[in-house]
């Protein structure tokens, strides 16, 4: 993943293709209409395929062909993945599909269409917007609105807090353990995996908050991307709350195109599995991401198949248990997402529980050094606790409204505390947002 100025031409290429494709799709009917859509999709997916998947495919094919005595017949391309490619490509694709479906009029103003694809707050890591939500906003005139600007800034501040205080702090022990999992006991592997679950949530949702907040300051309204996903009581609910803009993209453009649930049950389950497999592949050209997607696909299929059985036992009716099981399943899948390769992921997946009984019986040496001091470890847990408290509060009251009703002294005291907390507890080494790589 890289930012190389010349790569802006790739963005320019897809913008031009999709701009004209939109116009022609709207003008055409029947087969011709479909041809323009297919042309646009091939162009977009082609760019993704070359920059994101070519080397992965060639590497795997070369490995297979090696078995037939051929020595690397497919060349390796020395290219880097342009930053945010998957995000703006998907946003561009949603435009042509919506024009094709008749839900969106083709944009005639080239500048406005370009802005739709390149809108800077969400260009590199989403939320992946829909033309129906975003395009018309570029024609609106926004006056300065005190409440709107402060709302946006508040959201940005919370995002920065989540990124530098929580995500980047948790990244230290996670990186430490995942770099050499063989050196750690099961307890450390569990801690690192749970920490990663919160790291990736805080990292990604922080970017979304900053993007939504920045857009809000300027007057634009972007879609919500996260909704307390770890409070989900099932994996299917998790996907309605996690990276909402991507999961809804897959639902609207892939799942429904495959027939959704209006097919036979086996085909429906296969559709679900395919969607999650593709979702895994979207995240990265690596088997770890494919397995991560496949695991989620399996969870969903298994959940549907066993639904009646679970309803009989009544286990589904205990919300805390359901949330805990869902969180555990999601965490287990995160192992594959975080690990550098299959070997590391497999080691962690097979050792995360096995050593636990032995450790519990031993009573000592459970807590190992995982790259941070005891104080920092406590701080990690404290920040997670704070995050969860905010989430619980969010589910009970409208925090923004509650906050606005308070006196300026209270609000400013909170802002100042937040700022001091960012300065004191923030990690300021150059750490990029995880999702920039996708």
């Amino acid at each position: 993943m890289a930012f190389i100025p010349i790569y802006i031409l790739i963005l320019g290429f897809t913008i031009i293709i999709d701009y004209f494709a939109g116009l022609y799709i709207e003008k055409s009917v029947g087969k011709r209409k479909k041809t323009f859509l297919v042309f646009s999709l091939i162009a977009n997916i082609g760019v993704l395929a070359i920059f994101k998947y070519y080397n992965f495919i060639s590497e795997n094919l070369n490995f297979l062909l090696h078995g037939f005595g051929m020595d690397k017949p497919i060349p390796y391309l020395n290219i880097l993945l342009p930053i945010g490619l998957s995000f703006h490509t998907f946003q561009a694709m949603s435009y042509t599909i919506e024009v094709y479906r008749g839900n969106q009029k083709a944009e005639r103003h080239f500048g406005i269409y370009s802005l739709y694809v390149m809108f800077y707050p969400q260009l590199v890591a989403g939320p992946i917007e829909r033309p129906q939500n975003l395009l018309h906003q570029f024609r609106e005139k926004f006056d300065f609105d005190y409440n709107r600007v402060t709302d946006g800034l508040r959201l940005m501040a919370w995002g920065i807090f989540k990124k530098v205080v929580i995500a980047d702090r948790l990244a230290i022990p996670v990186g430490f353990v995942y770099a050499q999992p063989q050196s750690y006991n099961s307890f450390s592997l569990i801690i690192a995996t749970v920490f990663f679950a919160f790291q990736i949530f805080c990292d990604f949702s922080a970017y979304s908050d900053i993007a939504i907040g920045a857009a809000r300051v300027m007057g634009f309204k972007l879609m919500k991307n996260f909704d307390k996903p770890y409070h989900s009581q099932s994996v299917s609910e998790f996907w309605k709350r996690w990276h909402i803009s991507l999961s809804s993209w897959f639902r609207d453009y892939l799942y429904i195109s495959l027939g959704g649930n209006r097919v036979t049950i086996p085909r429906w389950l296969l559709n679900l599995f395919i969607v999650f497999l593709v979702s895994g592949l979207w995240h990265g050209a690596n088997w770890t991401f494919i397995i991560w997607g496949a695991l989620h696909g399996f969870y969903l299929v298994f959940g549907i198949v066993t639904k009646k059985l679970r309803e009989k036992t009544g286990l589904d009716k205990i919300p805390l248990l359901s949330s805990l099981v869902t969180f555990t399943l999601v965490c287990f899948a995160w192992i594959f997402f975080r690990a550098d390769n299959i070997k590391v992921a497999w080691y962690i997946a097979t050792h995360i529980i096995t050593g636990l009984p032995y450790l519990i019986l031993q009573h000592h040496h459970i807590i190992e050094y995982i790259g941070i001091s005891k104080d920092e470890l406590i701080l990690c847990f404290a920040t997670i606790l704070l995050l969860e408290c905010v989430h619980i509060l969010q589910s009970r009251v409208n925090i923004v409204a509650y906050f606005k009703a308070k006196s300026i002294y209270f609000r400013w005291a909170v802002y100042l505390s937040l700022l001091v907390a960012i300065i004191f507890f923030g990690v300021f080494e150059n750490r990029q947002f995880i999702y920039f790589q996708f």
């Binding site: 300065f144 400013w412 100042l416 004191f424 507890f425 990690v427």
Partner: protein, 312 residues
């Protein structure tokens, strides 16, 4: 819009005032901490020594203020700065002159690392409570480790060092425990040869070279010039170093020649103990370049004897 801008300005001002206030509280508390005693003594003008000892950790661990005080009946103070080359030592010297009367004598410890090219802050926490001093700030910025945020954003310099924040606030409430082993900067180590001693030699079978940095040499020249102008007698001392480790330094001869050249060029006394019998017995060392208490005792009696002709 106007109200918004005014509120932003007010918020920034309030933040800076409160954060600066909190930072000053932490700074003040930390200055009282025993580990910051040397710098605090300097800027409190509490030293005013007749004999000042300068150098790296080898100065701090090897040259006893107790012996010098009793032999020469003169106040001595050890300003040895562990892990730093001469640039930081020079700035410390300037800081000393800024707040204290010039010493009559400076015992300048020298070793192959004195002029090495090394620009990374070691134990940077020791400087944090004093960054408002322009000279300390100048010294710190000549090394890598802190950046503009540490100097201009209040409280930022204390991010991720929670123990310092805690200690700084605590020291304002209760008096910190005094260091009972305080010997005016002199800190001997009471330990025998550490296990890494042999492994160090094993890990460096080919030996190593120590690069001499021309910029650091310029600082040394400025130091000599300042001392001459202030009529301070500088005595260069090369304290004992384990003989086997000496062989590892491939360009040792040229470094020793450099010291000798400076000694004759500026008419400075050079006391070289690197070939002394102390260097041949590992029982005198706790690692390859530092004497332990046994070695220090032997060395200081020799040093005091040799200094008798020079310190009057």
């Amino acid at each position: 819009m106007k109200i918004f801008v005014l509120k932003v300005i007010a918020f920034v001002i309030i933040f800076f005032v409160l954060a600066t206030l909190l930072q000053n509280i932490i700074d003040r508390g930390l200055r009282k901490a025993p580990e910051n005693k040397e710098i605090n003594d300097i800027i409190s003008s509490d030293i005013n020594a007749g004999i000042l000892i300068q150098g790296s950790s080898r100065a701090k661990r090897h040259i006893s203020t107790l012996v010098l005080d009793s032999v020469f009946k003169m106040n001595s103070y050890n300003l040895g700065l562990p892990a730093y080359n001469f640039i930081m030592q020079y700035y410390q010297f300037l800081l000393y002159l800024k707040y204290n009367t010039p010493p009559k004598y400076i015992i300048q410890n020298i070793d192959p690392r004195t002029f090495r090219k090394d620009r990374y802050l070691v134990n940077y926490e020791q400087f944090l409570p004093f960054l408002d001093d322009r000279l300390i700030k100048k010294a710190v910025v000549s090394y890598h480790g802190l950046d503009w945020k540490d100097f201009y954003i209040p409280l930022y310099k204390y991010h991720s060092v929670y123990h310092l924040v805690y200690e700084g606030i605590k020291n304002n409430i209760s008096k910190p425990q005094p260091d009972n082993n305080d010997h005016k900067g002199y800190e001997p180590i009471d330990s025998l040869c550490d296990p890494s001693f042999g492994s160090y030699l094993l890990n460096n079978p080919q030996g190593y070279r120590m690069e001499v940095d021309s910029l650091t040499l310029n600082y040394f020249k400025s130091f000599i010039d300042t001392c001459k102008a202030k009529k301070i007698t500088v005595i260069l001392v090369y304290t004992p170093e384990y003989y086997r480790a000496q062989k590892m330094l491939l360009n040792r001869d040229s470094i020793i020649s450099l010291f000798k050249n400076y000694s004759s060029l500026y008419n400075l006394t050079l006391l070289d103990y690197s070939q002394d019998s102390i260097c041949h017995d590992s029982v005198n060392f706790y690692n390859y370049q530092h004497l332990n208490k046994i070695g220090v005792k032997k060395f200081n009696s020799k040093l005091a004897r040799d200094l008798k002709d020079l310190i009057k």
